[in-house]
Every structure is written in C-alpha cells, then in structure tokens.
C-alpha cells in the first residue's frame, strides 16, 4: 500500500521555537508538496519540490523554509514559530511519469499549535 508518512500528528510549540515537520513517501515520486489547511481557506501551498535539492515557493512561503536532501523526504521548517502558524500541515506527493495525471497522495497531516 502506497504511503506518505508525516512523523508527527500533533505538536505543541512555543513562540520563537524552531519547528521541523518531516514527510517521507515510499512511492518513488519526484514531486513533493507542503500545504497548510485552515477553516474557510482550504489548502494553501507553502512550498513544493520537483527533485532532490530543488524547491519552489508556493502561495504562502513567508515564515517557512524546506529541505529535500533525499528523494523520499521533504521537510518543512518554521525558523521561529509564531501563533499565526497554528494550523494543520499536509504533505503530499505526486509522480512526474509521462502520462501521469498528477493526482496527489497525502499524508495524515500534522496539527501544530503554537502558544
């Protein structure tokens, strides 16, 4: 069964802390994505990556950075967490294989609370 695994389901952090959210996929997908989900706003793209060591800004990259050192792993980093970053964070992956329609496979989500 294909899988996207987010290491932490629930986190509570304090303002100013550095936060790492880890995501691993076992489908050998080239593309990986980080979204945040907030009520009434749907899913908003933070960053995405098409290849190892490649990263592209999404719609709301401010306050976040990412790292992709290995194909299967895509990390989201909050350098200095703030209360407005309290949210559900969703990792997803997709294939670049020719003819693939690009549907996303999601992890279970990481609910972050910043106090």
């Amino acid at each position: 069964d294909v899988k996207v695994t987010q290491s932490s389901r629930y986190l509570v952090k304090r303002t100013g802390e550095k936060v790492f959210l880890e995501c691993v996929q076992d489908m050998d997908h080239e593309n990986m994505f980080w979204y945040r989900q907030d009520p009434g706003l749907g899913l908003r793209l933070i960053y995405f990556s098409y290849d190892v060591k490649m990263k592209e800004k999404g719609d709301i990259p401010e306050g976040y950075s990412v790292s992709r050192e290995k194909k299967e792993r895509f990390s989201l980093i909050l350098e200095s967490a703030s209360t407005n970053q309290t949210s559900m964070y969703l990792c997803a992956s997709s294939s670049q294989v020719r003819g693939n329609t690009g549907e996303l496979f999601f992890g279970e989500g990481s609910r972050l609370t910043v106090l």
Binding site: L90, T101, E103, L104, G107
Partner: protein, 110 residues
C-alpha cells in the same frame, strides 16, 4: 490563473437521499479536475478525476461527478447518501499545479 469555487460551505442531506456537492472552475486550456475527501483529523483521500472522455466519471465509495464544459462545473454526486459519507469534500483543478477549493462539509443525518 486557475481557480476553483465551492459555493456551499455545508450541505445537509438525509440518509438515502441523493446528494450533490457543487464545484465550478476556471482554467486556461483543458482541465484536469479532481475530487478529494477528508475525514476528521485525517489527510485528503483521492475520490475521482476527470481528464478527458465521458462527462460522467465514477469514483470510490459510489461517488460520481459530472463534467460540464459549457457551465465550467464539476459537481460531485451520489444517488443514495450514507451517514458515513459525512466529511469535508474538496474540488481541485490542475493546470501547472493543483489548486483546491475551500471545501464543502457534507453532513448526512438519519
């Protein structure tokens, strides 16, 4: 730029009745359209997609969606709702990247 609109924040249906969750889209070129479902405190699960061909697309759990090019719509339907269908439903369109709607909460009651 591509966009997706889900005009209803919530849809309420009695079990056994048909359900429709509405979605309209805007994209240049031919659209790739998707529906995803999210159960409480879970990630999104793929339900179905339209790429080309038949305008009526069948997906998981008895859901189907009707693509209407003239109305730029891709409404999700099910002939007979179940209480277990209660969840958050997202419509999405792909041009270069996938763009999601804001979601519609489906509440199915006995």
């Amino acid at each position: 730029a591509q966009s997706v609109a889900q005009p209803e924040d919530q849809v309420n249906v009695a079990e056994g009745n048909p359900l429709t969750v509405k979605c309209t889209y805007s994209v240049s070129g031919n659209p790739y359209l998707f529906w995803y479902v999210q159960y409480p405190n879970r990630g999104l699960q793929f339900l179905l997609k339209y790429i080309t061909g038949d305008n009526l697309v069948k997906g998981s759990y008895g859901f189907e969606a009707e693509f209407n090019k003239s109305q730029t719509s891709f409404h999700l339907k099910k002939p007979s709702a179940l209480v277990s269908d209660s969840a958050l439903y997202f419509c999405a369109v792909r041009d270069f990247l996938i763009t999601f709607g804001t979601g519609t909460r489906l509440q199915v009651t006995l």
